[in-house]
């Protein structure tokens, strides 16, 4: 048994090493991708383009208008006298937020009446819109608190917030671990999805069937080499995350590798299973895509699972990537250990085992 397995693994490794392009895609591409994505995946909304129409032209109105770009979140792209221009800027996408200070703003303030600021936010990107909105309310609140002109008594209730685990609210700390999961999850399923089908189309599967090799040996032989490459990826990517993006691993690196191993086996096994149910490479390819896409979207990486309708939340329970994202984030950000993460790890092990079993059952060592 062992020798047969060893020889299958050796053959797979020879084939992978010989095809430089595959090696490039399995090792170099993930690193490159992390490098690029690490910069892209920020929800910290910077440079929010702002257009201002200040009809009041008082010192207070100017102060308020200036406080926006000064906060560092907004970029003043245009100042105009015409409210219509505000609209145009929003429609063309040149500005995300428009600030309109009516001409009677200061007069009303002086009279002690309620004074309005009209703010329009382009809600298309509701993410940016929501964040812009919260920035704005914080800005106004801050202005009220610190403004000597206004005679409002200080708030009786002050707020002392403390942010845990990611004090600068750097979304990169939150996103980069997720990106690691994405990169591994997508490539690994794809690489084994074509594995058996290629052998069938080349005629070598027939020859393998005739040999004494057992289905489980063939399954393992085709996944273990890629699991090893995957672990190498994990190491390299973690190093890159740590030293370039300064995303630290708060928890145990050992646990990270163990969890990665189980995840890799599961995701490779999934690809292999797809291989057993596909007749042609094209079929395998499309089926794998059909599986990978929902996994990426429903894994909780970008879109919070708690926000999903219950029925869809149930679906996410069968997506291995979901557990891996939770585990990796927990280890990176919160230093979580086995006590907290064991249910997720168990889920990975169970789903991996099930997939392997199903693949072995399906692969009957017959061609029909």
């Amino acid at each position: 048994m062992r020798s047969r397995l060893r020889h299958i693994i050796r053959k797979e490794l020879i084939q992978v090493r010989r095809d430089r392009r595959i090696m490039a895609m399995l090792v170099v591409a993930p690193l490159f991708q992390l490098f690029v994505f690490g910069y892209a995946v920020t929800l910290d909304i910077k440079h929010i383009p702002l257009v201002v129409c200040d009809r009041a032209r008082s010192s207070e109105s100017r102060k308020i208008a200036a406080s926006f770009p000064r906060s560092g979140h907004f970029d003043l792209v245009d100042e105009t006298d015409s409210p219509a221009q505000l609209t145009t800027n929003l429609v063309s996408g040149r500005a995300l937020v428009s600030l309109y200070i009516p001409h009677d703003f200061s007069k009303r303030r002086a009279r002690g009446e309620e004074a309005e600021l009209q703010i329009l936010i382009d809600g298309t990107d509701m993410n940016s819109a929501g964040i812009a909105s919260s920035y704005i309310s914080r800005l106004i609140a801050h202005h009220l608190r610190t403004d000597e002109v206004s005679i409002s008594p200080p708030s009786m209730v002050t707020h002392e917030p403390r942010i845990l685990y990611n004090p600068d609210l750097e979304s990169v700390n939150y996103m980069v671990p997720g990106v690691i999961c994405m990169i591994l999850g997508t490539v690994m399923t794809a690489v084994t999805a074509l594995a058996l089908v290629r052998e069938r189309e080349a005629g070598t599967l027939e020859q393998l069937i005739v040999t004494p090799i057992r289905p489980i040996e063939l399954m393992l032989g085709k996944t273990l080499p890629f699991a090893a490459i995957g672990l190498l990826d994990v190491a390299l990517i973690t190093l890159l995350a740590r030293y370039w993006f300064k995303v630290h691993v708060a928890g145990s690196v050992g646990l990270l590798f163990i969890a990665s191993l189980f995840f890799l086996l599961t995701t490779l096994g999934l690809g292999l299973f797809i291989s057993t149910v596909s007749r042609t490479q094209q079929q395998a390819m499309l089926t794998a895509f059909f599986v990978i896409m929902p996994s990426v979207i429903l894994s909780g990486f970008m879109f919070p699972i708690e926000n999903m309708p219950a029925s869809i939340q149930w679906i996410t329970y069968v997506i291995p990537l979901r557990y891996f994202v939770t585990i990796v984030r927990g280890i990176f950000l919160q230093g979580s250990g086995m006590e907290v993460l064991w249910p997720h790890l168990a889920a990975l092990i169970v789903s991996g085992g099930t997939i392997f079993m199903l693949s072995a059952l399906r692969f009957q060592k017959r061609l029909d």
Binding site: R4, H7, K11, Q15, A202, I209, V210
Partner: protein
């Protein structure tokens, strides 16, 4: 099943939907025999072999190979057989040496055995100098030899060769058969499928398969002696292609076909066959150089078997 039997097949059948590829085939091959499976393309030779190797599941029937049941004990069968398919099934992105080592390893040869058998295979195939070459870069003829080597690394008791010499030059084919004879000398049994008549002559016994059915099984000499083909008249004349057409259209001629530069004719009646054929040809303006009766070759016998099978359903209809 006696220990002297290598392959025992009973009523083996394979259906693909409505199409019957193999129709209740039965035969028995004793140990050490070189058995040839002869038939045109699509007759069911490959399908039969693949059922015996466990690649396809029979629709009906049973069989044993090397003493083990093909349905109940497929893995036991697989460890005792060697198989070479028409497509050779080699990994093109592996070198010759790597292919040999892989298959040797799959059959669980230990390091020493593997090295020895690899050396044997390289020598047998004449590929010693090319061990590091990529299989992809080998011409087809050499790939055939490599595939044979891979199939025989573990010295199996029973060897299945599916059209192993297809497209090979006569020299290679001769060498191939040297290997097969050597196998027989070592006690192995070989089932080889072919549609080369000269190869068929070299087998100990032959089975004719046509349209999924085993229409005849016997030693080559016995098949020829059975005289089923009746009389064969060999003719050398001008415009042989046209002559064949003319003869086929004439009553009293069962079959006529090109044979080398001349024609082989199977008349319906044996007596006076030569004169009858001469008369027909001269009537139609052909100048005949030579016309004489000849021993039917396996070729002729085979064709007549096919004809008989084709005629049989007609005989059955009321």
């Amino acid at each position: 099943m006696t220990s002297g039997t290598a392959i025992d097949v009973r009523g083996l059948t394979k259906r693909f939907g409505d199409f019957i590829a193999v129709d209740t085939v039965s035969f028995n091959i004793p140990r050490g025999e070189v058995f040839g499976l002869l038939g045109p393309n699509g007759a069911g030779k490959s399908t039969t072999i693949r059922m015996l190797c466990g690649i396809l599941l029979p629709s009906a029937g049973s069989g044993t190979v090397a003493g083990h049941d093909i349905l109940d004990e497929p893995e036991a069968v697989r460890s005792r057989i060697g198989y070479m398919s028409q497509r050779f099934s080699l990994y093109l992105d592996l070198t010759i040496g790597e292919n040999l080592e892989f298959y040797g390893g799959i059959y669980s040869l230990n390091r020493a055995q593997l090295q020895e058998r690899k050396r044997w295979a390289l020598e047998m195939a004449g590929l010693q100098a090319r061990e590091q070459q990529l299989t992809e870069d080998l011409p087809a003829g050499l790939r055939q030899r490599l595939a044979l080597g891979c199939a025989l690394l573990h010295q199996p008791e029973v060897v299945f060769l599916d059209e192993p010499t297809a497209g090979a030059d006569p020299m290679s084919r001769r060498q191939f058969w040297d290997v097969i004879y050597r196998l027989r000398a070592e006690g192995a049994t070989t089932l080889v499928s072919t549609h080369y008549m000269d190869e068929a002559e070299r087998c100990d016994r032959l089975g004719f398969i046509f349209a999924g059915q085993l229409v005849a099984i016997d030693r080559p000499d016995d098949l020829k002696r059975a005289q089923r083909a009746g009389v064969i008249v060999e003719v050398a004349c001008d415009r042989p292609a046209a002559a064949v057409e003319t003869l086929e259209r004439t009553d009293g001629i069962r079959q006529a076909r090109l044979h080398g530069a001349g024609i082989h004719v199977s008349p319906a009646v044996a007596d006076g066959a030569v004169n009858a054929v001469l008369a027909i040809l001269e009537r139609h303006g052909f100048s005949v150089e030579r016309a004489e009766t000849v021993e039917p070759s396996l070729d002729d016998i085979f064709v007549s078997f096919i004809q008989e099978s084709e005629e049989r359903p007609e005989a059955a209809t009321p």
